[in-house]
Symmetry: C2
Subunit: 193 residues, 2 copies
Amino acid sequence: MNRDILIRYFSSILPIPAERAAFFADQFVPMEFLKNDFLLKENKISKATFVLEAGYIRSYTFDNNGVEVTTNIFSAPCFVNDFLSFFKQKPTSENYQCLTPCKIWTMSYENVQNCFHNYPEFRELGRMMLVTNYSILHERMLGMIKDSAENRYLKLLSKHPEIFQNIPLKIIASYLGITDTSLSRIRKEIAVN
Amino acid sequence: MNRDILIRYFSSILPIPAERAAFFADQFVPMEFLKNDFLLKENKISKATFVLEAGYIRSYTFDNNGVEVTTNIFSAPCFVNDFLSFFKQKPTSENYQCLTPCKIWTMSYENVQNCFHNYPEFRELGRMMLVTNYSILHERMLGMIKDSAENRYLKLLSKHPEIFQNIPLKIIASYLGITDTSLSRIRKEIAVN
DNA sequence: GATTCTACTTGCCATTTGACAAGAAATTAA
DNA sequence: TTAATTTCTTGTCAAATGGCAAGTAGAATC
């Protein structure tokens, strides 16, 4: 695993001295996960925060008919966090599962709290991470209101083409809020034109 | 305006000593807004955070065809914040407008930063506010994927019935991601049964 | 009180999306 | 390699939602 990726990722979120970024990176423990491994299961409390160095993860839950719904797709490098469960130490309602083998850096809740307490820059990093994720979710929400399914597909395709090379379409369809059938038709329609 | 509402609201987000909650409340300046007044306009940078004591506010933007889209509805008491604009001091893409006369407590960006720096509990309050708002948005997102328009309507109706007494249906429809025509039909259908 | 404006409803028809089922293609397991 | 499983596509039909326009009701303005 590559610690430099972690350091660069921190610096991209918030400009901080390289030395400090390296110190923060040292707080994380590297782990390797296999495909289908779970980082967190529903009804459990998130005890750690994760940074995905390589691989793909999704979170999912179930709709009223018991059908799996993909709530999020994580493409490296990024934080993987159930904010509600982690920061309020409450059980989550979602499952976080590796879609591919993953390289993941983890940091315990206690250590995060400790660094929040002692390092203003770490607090700032945490806040920026929250704000950034909020605004990504906000954009996705706007897309659900403003855009057609086809446009949502095209936006995701242009922003994260790598996802389509690595994740089954039916999971992407669910994430886009449509059925795999519809996504298949949308792709067909676009291919024709 | 009623400072106690502010204090109680803070305490509901995070258990803190009453004295400290009162001190935080003192950092906020009371203001009265008229119907249709703007708290923040698109392309401007949010210079203050707001707590809505009484009244209704919405945020809106425009879709690709120039049609207004309501992105959020704020029902007192609650924080009213453009997180991205406020915390990153970047221009917002949305308009925040009063739908009724409003009683609003404001606190400047500088003062917020100062309190973040000096008061751990204030930081914690800010983080909880962010986390809470993230999870509300997350739930709304899930609803857009999992629920039919009718179910989204019913959920909003049961959770915030007061909104339907105070805000035009066409704005609520837009917030739910449907047209006012569709909402009208959904309501009719429900009324029949 | 009359006028204007806005919100809401409704009818008609088109489009999008879903449900279900069958089959093809690709991947995984034996 | 073969078999089993999963993913993806496609057909048919139904349901949900939208676009547009007309008409009604209610609120705001003069």
